[in-house]
Amino acid sequence: MRTNAGVAIWGSLFTICVALLLIDQRDDPEFIFPISFAAPEHRAPDTNPKFEAAFVGSHAETPSVHAGTLTYLKNGSLLAAWFGGTREGAKDVSIYFARRESDSQQWSAPVVVASREQTTQELNRFIAKLGNPILFADSRGRVWLFYVTVSFGGWSGSSITFRYSDDDGESWSGAERLVTSPFLNVSTLVKGCPLECKSGHILLPVYHEFLRKCGELLTISPDGKLVSKTRLSATHRAIQPCVVPLNEKAVRVFYRQNGFADRMVLTQQIPNVFAPDNTALVATNIANPDAAVSVIRRNNKGFLMVCNPLDSGRHKLSLATSNDGLSWQVIHEIENSASPNEFSYPYLIQGRPGEYHLIYTWNRTKMRYAFFNERWLENAP
């Protein structure tokens, strides 16, 4: 390149960059936190113990379903999503969506909310298969759907795509991709329930699966822009982080242990989730057969977990409670059958204070929903 022309090009680029950097108005971490944390209602509503369970819709067209997710709307309705197709990872897998109105208490027929073809078209990028979805209704009423997309390879080649709805799931925006890794943007997956900050930013727990396995937390602005990414754990066998807020900065994170030996649910307490310091992970006393767990704050007394407390297999699904997040006690068995039955991938949320909603995979053929209240938990045998 001729020297004068090169200097002129560089000078122009440099001047514009300086001007743009000076007027840069991007999000400042100081502005983002704290977490929108409200201590759950301590007192259980004055109702009778209640436990109900039902299958979510019909799955005639989708022999294999998995990875259910729920979100609770302000009007009391519930939205659910999961992926379904001929088998996990098949090209015909789509993200299905159903609604449970607060008055009818019945699940609507499932509809496709995201397909591989539609996502390919909207991203202008080839998508080979779809995976785990996550639904989340933020405080402004926008419903977010994050889901895994894979362009090549297995689940290690995953990236995250999202769309949102401003009318409680009646219509959805086009698909947008989150770029979360500098290495071809591969190997970021979702499973855990997001949190919201007072600024409206969403904290989305994700995990990395390519070469090394670790938990990460994405900060997404209210308009869907990825603002930051922080690594939660340096341990390479902890995946599917489930982040539970303890106060406006501190969180306790629970992990599925991925590996072959000493399988227990792992946990770590992070004093400031906006500046994680790679706190060491410790094993809880709950066995984990390399299966997903779901944990929420139960009340001021502790935590509530849905898990498969087995050394191997996923034929038992249980509810456990803990005061400190380390020592757990199983209080109910939601499913208990013989192997090779599978009741897995639980996703637990709290609706109204003292009311809990759970969705899980039932033998990979159906999605099962369960509702229970605090009084039912208190009456544990």
């Binding site: 200097v7 202008n124 362009s151 500098p182 340096a234």
Partner: protein
């Protein structure tokens, strides 16, 4: 998908394919044939494949290409037309070492081999100032192409031309890192100067080191 991303994917496809053709032809075709090839490639990139087009299909497998690799590929096409001059080997080596160092700093940490993730810094606007500072240093040291690449990456990041909000994604991608490493290895073990036809048009990509001069 915004029009900027669409343009980015097509530009990536055309430049990548054109450089590949340039490498394959090795100067056997004249300028007219090269420009005709470029036009055909621009058209090919738009052909539908499944529910996307050829460039979208390629992008799904290569990832979004970074700014410097696009500039270097464009520069190579211009060099083939004799519109730009080559860089001295010493500057090529320094430039490649810079990209190599960037990759070593970024990829092991981002892939989880190091506890602290250096990719995190790419979300912070202060990294933009650092890269601009490096760009100044590169210009002062007469590494013009590197200086322009760095400034252009910051500019593209500020304008949000890619999907990623992270400056690292504008600055480097695995293909640039592999290219820089390969070129360094090739420079280390290349035959004596009289044994090759010319390496004077090279500017940093490995394939380009064996391209003939078209002036």
């Amino acid at each position: 998908m915004s029009s900027a991303f669409w343009i980015w994917s097509h530009l990536s496809f055309v430049l990548l394919a054109a450089n590949f053709l340039l490498l394959m032809q090795r100067g056997r075709r004249g300028p007219r044939a090269r420009w005709a090839s470029l036009s055909v490639l621009a058209f090919l990139g738009l052909l539908p494949v499944g529910h996307t087009d050829v460039s979208g299909f390629m992008l799904a497998h290569t990832g979004t290409l970074c700014v410097p690799i696009l500039i270097l590929m464009l520069r190579e096409l211009l060099a083939a037309e004799g519109l730009v001059l080559s860089q001295p080997p010493q500057i090529q080596r320094n430039t490649n070492l810079f990209w190599l160092a960037c990759g070593v700093l970024l990829y092991p940490a981002a892939l989880g081999f190091v506890a602290h993730d250096t990719y995190y810094f790419g979300y912070n606007s202060s990294m933009g100032w650092c890269v601009l500072g490096l760009s100044c240093v590169a210009m002062l040291c007469r590494h013009q192409v590197l200086g322009i690449c760095l400034a252009a990456a910051v500019l593209a990041h500020q304008l949000g031309l890619q999907e990623s909000p992270n400056l690292w994604d504008y600055l480097i991608d695995p293909w640039l890192w592999i290219a820089a490493a390969s070129h360094l290895i090739w420079m280390r073990f290349k035959p004596q100067p009289q044994q090759i036809r010319s390496n004077s048009v090279t500017n940093g990509l490995p394939a380009m080191a064996i391209l003939p001069q078209h002036r």
